[in-house]
Amino acid sequence: MPLTRVLVAEDDPDIQTVIRLSLRMKGVKQIVITENGEDCLAQVKTVNPDVILLDVMMPRLDGYQTCERLKANPETQNIPVIFLTAKAQQFEVKKGMATGALGYLTKPFDPMTLHDQIVTLLDQKGTP
């Protein structure tokens, strides 16, 4: 079963398009894309997503800080967060995971399997 609602924070408009098309192709009904961490935080409660996809390098609030805030808020802390980013050196991955993210997907990604990769991550970590 595909994911129903996905909230994305990604500042590059081209990548936004790719993500949207990719997820829609796999049947995700609601895809909300924000272009920075602050907007993402603002939309979380309205969208109530199954998963949040976060880029790391964004203006205003970066991915790490956004994740930290999400996890610090009891209302949002249980929403799984996955980083989707080009910053994938070992120490960067560690840093990301330390903020409480569920997983890490690197860019560039295969647009045809993005949805499945997300689902696999969610499954492996056993989200209810």
Partner: protein
């Protein structure tokens, strides 16, 4: 000149005086003889002339003494003049001893003057030389100071008593002591100055004392500073020896590790930024092309597909190159840490094959992968091993002729497992092959065409192979092809080892299954997972009861293994849940537990039961049976 002795003078004068007095006496006596009686006359004359004689003699003596002492005065005056720095010349007349003395004095003075002049002249020359030498020394000292100051690191020279002989500006900066004070300081004082900044002052002091006791030793001390940014100073101490080999002193250079670490950090940051900047646009490229290729925006013709495949394959190649660049820097600095686990080479080879699938298809090259059944599991980092295999396969494909074949074979060589990738392309010249695994072997001229695209990849492979304790090497014959060998140590037999049981053919399974492994112990789960993966099955894992049920429902695996003893939602509960759910009740379940009572598990719905500690071969046997039973 014949000396006339004083005494002779005196005698002469006295004689003359005596003669004169006697004569006068006689004359007077004759004159008085007429008037006076003899006795009285004798008495008067005697008294008078005695008196006169005495007077005369005294006078003669006095005069002579006077003459002598005057000349002696002159001598003394002359000596005084000498003392004042002059060269007096006495006026001399006469021939007696004193005159001789005076002449002698004059000669001595002359002699003195001569010597003095010679001395002055000699001293004058020496002084000129001295001035010249001093100036040269000054210049050399300045040059040395300039050179020392321009060295970014501190340099201190100490004498045999650890007093500072020379120090450059950097030392002053590092230790926070003004240069003038440095000149008078000794090593202990220097360390005192930084003591409060050190993380481990006692260790440092101990080290310094050791060095003092053994001045002939070359050693290094790292002074870790209790300051942010990993500030540290490393001192390299070496003895300075004289021509006879004796230790004259010591020289120490200080290296600011903080700067080095800072540079390292900057380099890492730079690499990270570059990598990010390159990957981001590639994401859009790969994304857009991938979507079109995947039919997301409509149908595409076969020709379109081919072109898109080319574009995507090369985009992937570009992405791999970027990763390689990062990798090589990290591996060289020992930062590419590898997580070693017991793993299957076949699994890695299969995964690698999937990665280069498109590339192979475009070049119409077939991959023939066959590894022996008894090839042992190896100890390696799965991602890295896969990286090596991808590299080798990718190169083989590049150098293969169209419609060519690539053979992947394996074997055991002592403690090592070896994988070989053979292509039937144009092969390599011996010179090229020898330089193959060096960084950037895009050689000049004739070798250039040979080496296209090999660049960083093989250097990284070498790092990875060696990091595993293995090797990578190549054989080649020009015109016939090349074979690349990659050896990696086999995993030790320790407790649970996923070794293949005999009689089981390892290779592409006819029906790869999906198996759900449930165990709260991640290590155990991993081991069981590998056991099945090496048979070619797909495995997902759950580490608690809730996930287990959810995953089972969602994915409907062909089989599952279940640890009965789990916290929170325990195995039995899971068992019951699975058996009562429509979607999952038919799935064969192998229960694994430390308890020895299989009855309980079976009554709860388990199909099979295995005891811990696990015997992997038994597990596989049972699994095969279970899978066979579902057809």
């Amino acid at each position: 000149m014949r000396r006339t002795r004083l005494i002779v003078q005196f005698l002469v004068v006295s004689s003359i005086a005596a003669a004169v007095v006697l004569m006068m006496g006689y004359v007077l006596d004759r004159q008085l003889a007429e008037d006076m009686p003899d006795l009285a006359r004798i008495r008067i004359i005697t008294w008078i002339f005695a008196g006169l004689a005495v007077l005369l003699i005294l006078s003669a003596a006095m005069i002579q003494v006077r003459l002598v002492s005057r000349r002696i005065e002159r001598l003394l005056a002359g000596m005084e003049e000498i003392r004042q720095g002059g060269y007096p010349r006495l006026v001399v007349d006469g021939k007696d001893e004193v005159s001789e003395l005076m002449r002698g004095f004059n000669r001595t003075v002359e002699e003195l003057r001569g010597r003095d002049e010679k001395l002055m002249s000699w001293a004058g020359k020496r002084e000129k030389e001295f001035v010249k030498l001093t100036r040269t020394l000054e210049e050399e000292k300045e040059k040395l100071e300039t050179v020392l100051d321009s060295i970014g690191d501190g340099v201190i020279v100490l004498d045999s008593e650890s007093k500072v002989l020379m120090a450059n500006r950097r030392v002053s900066e590092v230790f926070g002591i003004p240069l003038e004070a440095l000149a008078r300081a000794d090593l202990t004082q220097l360390v005192e100055q930084v003591r409060h900044r050190l993380v481990q002052p006692d260790v440092v002091e101990q080290k310094l004392q050791d060095l003092e006791r053994n001045p002939g030793v070359v050693d290094e001390i790292t002074l870790e500073l209790d300051e942010p940014g990993g500030q540290a100073i490393r001192l390299y101490c070496a003895p300075v020896r004289g021509a006879d080999g004796k230790v004259l002193g010591r020289i120490a250079t200080s290296l600011d590790l903080g700067r080095e670490r800072e540079l390292d950090r900057l380099k890492t940051e730079f690499l990270s930024t570059i990598s990010h900047e390159l990957r981001t646009p590639l994401t859009s490229v790969k994304g857009a092309l991938g979507l079109i290729r995947g039919g997301a925006v409509g149908g595409i013709s076969a020709d379109m597909r081919e072109l898109l495949d080319i574009a995507l394959a090369n985009t992937d190649r570009l992405i791999r190159t970027i990763s390689d660049i990062l990798d090589i820097f990290q591996l060289e600095r020992g930062q590419g840490r590898m997580r070693m686990v017991s793993m299957s080479l076949l699994q890695s080879a299969l995964r690698a094959e999937r990665v280069v699938e498109t590339q192979a298809r475009l070049r119409k090259v077939t991959l023939d992968i066959e590894l022996p059944e008894d090839l042992p599991a190896v100890k390696g980092d799965p991602k890295r091993v896969e990286q090596v295999l991808v590299n080798l396969l990718s190169n083989a494909i590049k150098f293969s002729p169209a419609k060519g074949k690539i053979l992947v074979r394996g074997g055991q060589d002592g403690p090592m497992a070896v994988v070989s990738v053979q292509d039937f392309g144009r092969g390599m010249s011996p010179e090229f092959r020898d330089r193959l695994f060096q960084k950037f072997e895009h050689a000049q001229g004739a070798l250039l065409r040979e080496s296209q695209g090999v660049g960083l990849g093989l250097a990284i492979c070498r790092h990875i192979a060696e990091g595993h304790g293995g090797r990578i090497w190549a054989e080649s014959e020009q015109g016939k092809g090349s074979t690349f060998h990659f050896s990696i140590p086999a995993a030790e037999r320790a407790g649970i080892t996923p070794l293949l049981p005999g009689g089981q053919r390892e290779g592409r399974p006819d029906a790869p299954r999906l198996i759900l492994v449930i165990d709260d112990d991640e290590d155990v789960a991993r081991v069981i997972s590998y056991a099945f993966e090496s048979q070619g099955h797909r495995v997902i894992a759950a580490h608690n009861g809730r996930d287990a049920i959810d995953l089972a429902k969602r994915h409907r695996p062909d089989m599952l293994t279940l640890d009965l003893a789990m916290p929170e939602v325990d195995g039995y509960t899971v068992l019951r849940a699975l058996r009562s759910n429509e979607d999952t009740k038919k799935i064969p379940i192998i229960c694994i537990s430390m308890e020895t009572e299989p009855g309980l598990a079976i009554s709860h719905g388990a199909d099979y039961f295995l005891e811990k500690p696990l015997d992997i071969e038994k597990l596989r046997d049972i699994a095969d049976r279970a899978l066979a039973s579902i057809g």
